[in-house]
C-alpha cells in the first residue's frame, strides 16, 4: 500500500489536493465536520467517484480513471455512510446482497450460470458468522434493522479479503452492540494487514480505532496527530478551521 494524492470535483471542487498515505496494518482516521469533503474523499478512495486530478495508488499501481470493478478486484472495499442508498439493494434478498460485487467470481459460477445453491449455502454461513438477524437468506435486505444491514455490508466487504478498507461513519445510528461489532471487525482487518481509512465525525470512535488521525477541513488536510496526541480541543479547533500556525 503506497501513498495517494486525490483531488476531485462534484460540479464544484470538493477536495483541493489531498495527500494521504496509509500503510498496511494501519488505521488512518479522517476527522472533520460533515460537509467538508468526506463523502467525496470516501468515494474517490473507493473508486466510485471519478478522480479529477492526481492519483490514487494501491501497492504502487495507479487506479485513477479505472472502472470501479477494477478497484474492487485490486482489493479495495468500501463501507458507505448511507447504508440504504449506497450499501444495499433494498428490495433484493440478503443472499443477493451478499453476492453483489462478486457475482462474476469463478467460485460462484459454473458453465456461466450462478450456482445459486452454493451461493445460498455461503450466505447462510455468512449470516451465522456475522450474526445477522434476518428471517432468512431470502428476506429483503431493506427490511433489516440498521445494525444488521451494516453487518451485511461488512460481511460482504470482508468476504473479498480486502487489502484496503474505506469506511465512512460506520457506526452512525447503530446500537452499542452493533457498534462494538463494527469496531472489532475493523481491528481484525488491521491485524490482518489491511490498510484502513476510517472517515468519521465521531471523535471517540476515531480515538479508539485510529493509529493516526488527520483532519479534513474545507476539502484540505489541515492537521495530523499521532496516537497519544489526540487532544479533543486541539482537534476541535482544527475541525472548525482555526489555523494551527495563526
Amino acid at each position: 500500500m503506497s501513498g495517494l494524492v486525490a483531488r476531485n470535483d462534484q460540479g464544484v471542487p470538493a477536495l483541493h489536493g489531498v495527500d494521504l498515505a496509509v500503510g498496511a496494518g494501519e488505521v488512518l482516521g479522517v476527522a472533520g465536520v460533515a460537509g467538508n469533503g468526506q463523502v467525496e474523499l470516501a468515494e474517490v478512495l473507493a473508486g466510485v467517484r471519478p478522480v479529477h486530478a492526481g492519483n490514487v495508488a494501491v501497492d504502487g499501481a495507479d487506479l485513477a480513471g479505472l472502472p470501479t470493478r477494477q478497484w474492487l478486484d485490486t482489493g479495495v472495499a468500501y463501507v458507505p455512510e448511507d447504508r440504504h442508498r449506497d450499501g444495499i439493494l433494498g428490495a433484493a434478498s440478503v443472499t443477493d446482497n451478499l453476492l453483489l460485487g462478486s457475482q462474476r467470481d469463478k467460485a460462484h459460477r459454473r458453465g456461466g450460470l450462478i450456482q445459486w445453491r452454493r451461493v445460498r449455502e455461503h450466505a447462510v454461513a455468512t449470516i451465522d458468522r456475522y450474526t445477522i438477524k434476518t428471517p432468512g437468506p431470502d428476506a429483503p435486505a431493506g427490511n433489516l434493522s440498521g445494525g444488521n444491514i451494516q453487518r451485511l455490508i461488512l460481511a460482504r466487504a470482508f468476504d473479498r479479503e480486502p487489502s484496503v478498507l474505506v469506511l465512512q461513519n460506520p457506526t452512525r445510528g447503530l446500537d452499542l452492540r452493533s457498534a462494538r461489532f463494527v469496531y472489532e471487525r475493523v481491528q481484525e482487518a488491521r491485524d490482518r494487514g489491511c490498510a484502513v481509512v476510517l472517515i468519521s465525525e465521531d471523535l471517540d470512535e476515531l480515538s479508539l480505532l485510529a493509529d493516526r488521525m488527520v483532519v479534513l477541513y474545507s476539502g484540505r488536510i489541515v492537521g495530523e496527530r499521532r496516537r497519544g496526541d489526540y487532544d479533543a480541543y486541539a482537534l476541535g479547533r482544527l475541525m472548525a478551521g482555526v489555523q494551527e500556525t495563526a
Binding site: 458507505p80 428490495a91 453483489l100 460485487g101 445510528g173 465525525e201 471523535l203
Partner: protein
C-alpha cells in the same frame, strides 16, 4: 462530538408463511383483477345492448373450440411474447423501451428485403439470413436510442417512441419505392421467396415454426435473467443503481445493452411475422402488438417467467375478440377495454395490498 446512539430493539423474525399461503397471496390480486375487469366490461357490454354471456363465452372459448382458433392464438402469441420481453428486459434496469413497434417494422422490412433479394436461395441458407437481418435491424434501431441514452443522456422513452414514426416511413419507402407490389391493394412489399416462408408445424391448420424460436428465446431469457451474472447485474442495476455502481456494476452500460437486446427481440418478432404470417412486409402489420406487449409486461410485473403465460392469456382475448365481433356484434375494441381494466385493477390491488399491510404492521 459523539454520534447519537440509537438502540434498536432486535426485531423478532416473523415466521416465513407457508408456500400455499404465499401462492394464494400472490395469485389473489390477479384473480380479483380478472373478475373485476370482466364485471365492469360486462356492465359496459350490457349497456351497449349486447348479449354479455354470449360475448364472454366467445372471447374465452374461441381459442379452444376450434383448431383454427388455437392456431391463431399461438400465432399471435409469438410477436406478443417477444415484444413483451423486449419491453421488460430494459424495464428491469428502469428503462422504458416504447419502440417495439418500430423495431418490429424495421426488422420486418429488413427480413422482407433479404427474402426478396435472395429469393432463389434454398431455405437452409435464406431463413437464417432473413432472421439475422431482422434481428440486426432491430438492434440498430434500438441501438440509436441506446447510444443517445448512454452517450448524451437522451431520454429513451422519447427516442424510442419517435423512432417508431421514422420506422413507418422506412417501411413505407420499402413498400412503395423499393420492392413495391402494386397488386397488393395496400402498401406492401412483394412476396418473399419460397425459401423464406416458414413451414407450418402440426395442423392443418398449423402454427409457423417460428413459434419454436420464440419459445426458445423466452426460455433463454428466463435462464439468462435468473441464472447468469449478467442477469444478476441487470436486476441489481434496476433495484438500486447507486449501490450497484458502488459494487462495480456499470449501470449505464447494462442499461444500454438491455435496450439493445430489447430491440433485437422486436426485430426478431418482425422477421417472424414476415416469414411465418404475411410472407411480406406490409403497412399496419405492427397491429397493436407494442401496446399489448407493454400491458403484458406490466401485468407480468416484468417477470421473464410470467411474460409467456400472460402473453398467452392476452392472445386468447385478442383472438376471442375478433370472433366476438362476428358472432355477437360487440366491437373488437371492447377487448382492449378489458385488457386495460385488468391492468388497472391489478395496479389498484397493489395500492390496496400496501395499505392493508401497513394497517396490519
Amino acid at each position: 462530538m459523539t454520534s447519537p446512539v440509537l438502540t434498536e430493539p432486535d426485531a423478532v423474525a416473523p415466521a416465513a408463511p407457508s408456500l400455499a399461503a404465499r401462492l394464494l397471496r400472490g395469485l389473489l390480486p390477479y384473480v380479483l383483477a380478472l373478475v373485476a375487469a370482466f364485471l365492469v366490461s360486462g356492465v359496459v357490454i350490457a349497456a351497449l345492448g349486447y348479449d354479455v354471456v354470449g360475448a364472454f363465452r366467445t372471447i374465452l372459448t374461441t381459442s379452444f373450440r376450434t383448431g383454427f382458433g388455437f392456431t391463431e392464438t399461438l400465432t399471435k402469441w409469438v410477436p406478443l411474447a417477444l415484444l413483451a420481453l423486449g419491453f421488460t428486459i430494459p424495464l428491469a434496469v428502469g428503462r422504458f423501451n416504447i419502440g417495439g413497434e418500430g423495431q418490429l417494422l424495421v426488422g420486418a422490412t429488413a427480413a422482407a428485403g433479404v427474402g426478396i433479394v435472395y429469393a432463389d436461395l434454398p431455405m437452409a441458407a435464406l431463413m437464417p439470413l432473413l432472421i439475422v437481418a431482422g434481428v440486426l435491424a432491430g438492434v440498430v434501431w434500438a441501438g440509436i436510442a441506446a447510444f443517445l441514452m448512454g452517450r448524451f443522456g437522451v431520454n429513451e422513452i422519447l427516442s424510442t417512441v419517435l423512432l417508431n414514426f421514422v420506422s413507418f416511413q422506412v417501411l413505407d419507402y420499402a413498400a412503395t419505392e423499393v420492392w413495391s407490389d402494386p397488386a397488393a391493394g395496400v402498401a406492401a412489399t412483394q412476396r418473399v421467396g419460397e425459401g423464406a416462408v416458414l413451414p407450418d408445424i402440426g395442423g392443418p391448420p398449423g402454427v409457423h415454426a417460428g413459434i419454436l424460436l420464440a419459445g426458445l428465446v423466452a426460455l433463454a431469457t428466463i435462464v439468462v435473467t435468473r441464472g447468469t451474472a449478467a442477469g444478476f447485474e441487470l436486476r441489481a442495476a434496476g433495484t438500486n443503481p447507486r449501490a450497484a455502481g458502488i459494487n462495480g456494476i456499470r449501470v449505464e452500460k447494462v442499461a444500454v445493452l438491455a435496450l439493445i437486446v430489447g430491440g433485437a427481440l422486436g426485430g426478431l418478432a418482425g422477421a417472424l411475422e414476415v416469414a411465418g404470417v404475411h410472407g411480406r412486409a406490409l403497412e399496419g402489420m405492427q397491429s397493436n402488438f407494442l401496446l399489448l406487449g407493454i400491458i403484458i409486461g406490466l401485468i407480468a410485473r416484468g417477470s421473464a417467467l410470467w411474460v409467456p403465460v400472460v402473453a398467452f392469456g392476452i392472445a386468447i382475448l385478442e383472438v376471442g375478440a375478433s370472433s366476438m365481433q362476428r358472432t355477437v356484434g360487440v366491437p373488437a375494441e371492447m377487448v382492449l377495454i378489458i385488457e386495460a381494466l385488468i391492468l388497472i385493477f391489478l395496479l389498484l390491488s397493489d395500492v390496496i395490498a400496501a395499505r392493508l399491510t401497513r394497517r396490519v404492521a
